[in-house]
Amino acid sequence: MDLTTFLIQCLNAVQYGLLLFLLASGLTLIFGIMGVINLAHGSFYMLGAYLAFSLAPLFGPQFLVMLVCGALLSFVFGYLLEWAFFSYLYQRDHLQQVLMTYALILVFEELRSLLVGNDVHGVQAPAWLAGTIALGDRMTYPTYRLFASAACIVIAIGLYVVVNRTRLGMMIRAGASNRDMVRGLGIDITRLYRIVFAAGVALAALAGMIAAPLSSVYPGMGGSVLIICFVVVVIGGIGSITGALIASLMVGFVDTFGKVFFAELSGIGIYLLMAIILIWRPEGLAKRGA
């Protein structure tokens, strides 16, 4: 493997890792603050991809505007979803919520099949992102992949600012470390939950929209990504956004280079990574409160 190939694989790994981070950050927020094991998170990713599929022709070259609109739409969707299906489940056993999110997966898959059909679709990247960039003498790298990484970095920075520099972010961090105390301090936890859930949905949909031109848009695309997201969240430590960032980059590298070096057993790599890390640190890399 020469240097250019290695570099390209590194870029791929970073891009994949950052995309995973968008998904996992939403999941870890919902997980850490609301205590909901959200199996439907993959469906929100699928929702984003299908949003991109239906919105892309309308917006044409205004890809960034489309991303913003899609994110807003999915935020509203998430807000309503929390109100309709989750708001009365918090007092119950967590497994009841798991059952609810599982049922939502079934409903979303079927609605998707009714609305869009079961075909595999492609989404065109806008013309200004469709080219390639030369790397070295012979290799090229698609511009859109670089754009995807850049977009994820921008969103990640935005998330960092919101979580660490605003009052809402303070409530979110407080909620992640001690939910009951936050409630005790008189913070409107119902509203906080609703916003966190909606933000998680919007982040997952953003990831789906950004991923749509890279991978095709197909039925069941949420299922495969869901489990990898859980792996990221658990490696990083539940509720920790920094942990999710480190973990998603690790998973990105292990998965990308696993495919290069051990093609046949590449599927096992990330699970092996997770098992080793959890046996070493049973509560993930960024242990809460430590």
Partner: protein, 364 residues
């Protein structure tokens, strides 16, 4: 009238054991493992036996379709019961239980003799042994973690097993592999025979249920329930909880292997999808639907879930909606979750308590 609110009384039962010397735990300090069987009326205790007797008559009147459906439910009930020991009794929610089902099934195919039929007891034993061995490995490592992390580690190990069968040539890759000749006992039991297989599966279900019911009434079962309620206190009372949990994990794995063996023999075919996380999720849902913490809840969940799925996907019942069974099943589950916080087993108590004010109904 039976009460299903065992957990509420458990901490006090344990608290009374404060005087017990460490290392010498007495039976009396332990909480009831399942729903309080002792307080159940004799009629309610007969339910499993009556169910068993009714099941035994199925081959006499049922057509092929119904009989196959009942077999499917019985096997899933064994699978659900095996997870109930972990999730319901011990409080260890595993999202990787399908791995043991799949390993049991693959063992039945891969270890079968190349020519001729394998001996039934040997093959069954090997299947359960393989599943138990993997459970010992997974349990020994994953029991170091707790709660959500435990869920995820069990999932990780199940995914590893899934990819080993899916991506390597070991078991025919993603296409799966065929079992050439079904095992049997010469001149006694021929599992090719539909009725013989039915009674074999029924026997397996009865044995599993009986074993678990006896176990839950034993000292071991009470210790597991104690671990679910308060592991710290159990350790303080002198129990090596890790060993108890590991034993439960291995036993649950072996019983899941039994269900896997039955599936392999029924279909004569196994594929990696048996180990997929969706299978682990489905069996967990059966438990939650039925009501965690009850053996009969696990069976009930398996029955209701399978029947609902069958009902919604058969054109004879729901017409053109059959193509969209995911939608109808999903909406039904949402409605069930919204209306039944304690699963199907909690329904009678819930109905009795309905007239009382809302706050009182929320006390647990």
């Amino acid at each position: 009238m039976t009460s299903t609110r065992a957990p509420a009384s458990v901490p006090t039962a344990l608290g009374g054991g404060g005087a017990v010397a460490p290392g010498a735990p007495a039976h009396g300090v332990l909480p009831a493992a399942a729903a309080p069987a002792a307080r159940r009326s004799p009629a309610a205790a007969l339910v499993p036996l009556v169910g068993l007797a009714l099941l035994a008559t199925v081959p006499f009147f049922a057509g092929e379709y119904l009989q196959d459906l009942v077999v499917k439910i019985m096997i899933l009930a064994i699978f659900a019961l095996s997870l109930e020991l972990l999730a319901g009794t011990t409080g260890l929610v595993s999202l990787g239980h399908a791995a043991f089902l799949g390993i049991g099934a693959y063992a039945a195919v891969l270890l079968a003799p190349k020519t001729g039929a394998g001996s039934l007891p040997v093959m069954l034993g090997l299947s359960m042994l393989c599943a138990a061995a993997y459970a010992l490995f997974v349990g020994a490592l994953s029991l170091r973690t707790r709660g959500v992390y435990f869920i995820m580690v069990t999932l990780a190990f199940a995914q590893m097993a899934y990819f080993i069968f899916h991506d390597t040539k070991l078991g025919g890759g993603s296409d799966g592999i065929y079992l050439n000749v079904k095992p049997g006992l010469p001149d006694v039991l021929d599992l090719q025979n539909r009725n013989a297989f039915f009674y074999f599966a029924l026997g397996a279900l009865a044995a599993t249920y009986g074993l678990l019911a006896a176990l839950l009434r034993s000292r071991f079962g009470h210790a597991l329930a104690g671990i679910r309620v308060n592991e710290q206190r159990m350790r303080a009372a002198g129990f090596r909880t890790y060993g108890y949990k590991l034993a439960a994990f291995v036993l649950a794995g072996a019983l899941a292997g039994l269900a896997g063996f039955l599936i392999a023999v029924r279909d004569g075919f196994v594929n990696p999808e048996m180990l997929a996380w969706q299978e682990s999720g489905t069996v967990l849902l059966m438990l939650i639907l039925g009501g965690l913490g009850h053996l009969r809840g696990a069976v009930l969940g398996a029955i209701v879930f399978t029947l609902l799925k069958e009902l919604y996907s058969s054109e004879g019942w729901v017409g053109p909606l059959a193509g969209h069974w995911q939608l109808t099943l999903g909406l039904t589950i949402i409605a069930l979750v919204a209306t039944m916080p304690k699963g199907l087993m909690g329904l009678p108590a819930q109905l009795r308590r309905r007239p009382r004010p809302v706050e009182a109904a929320d006390d647990d």
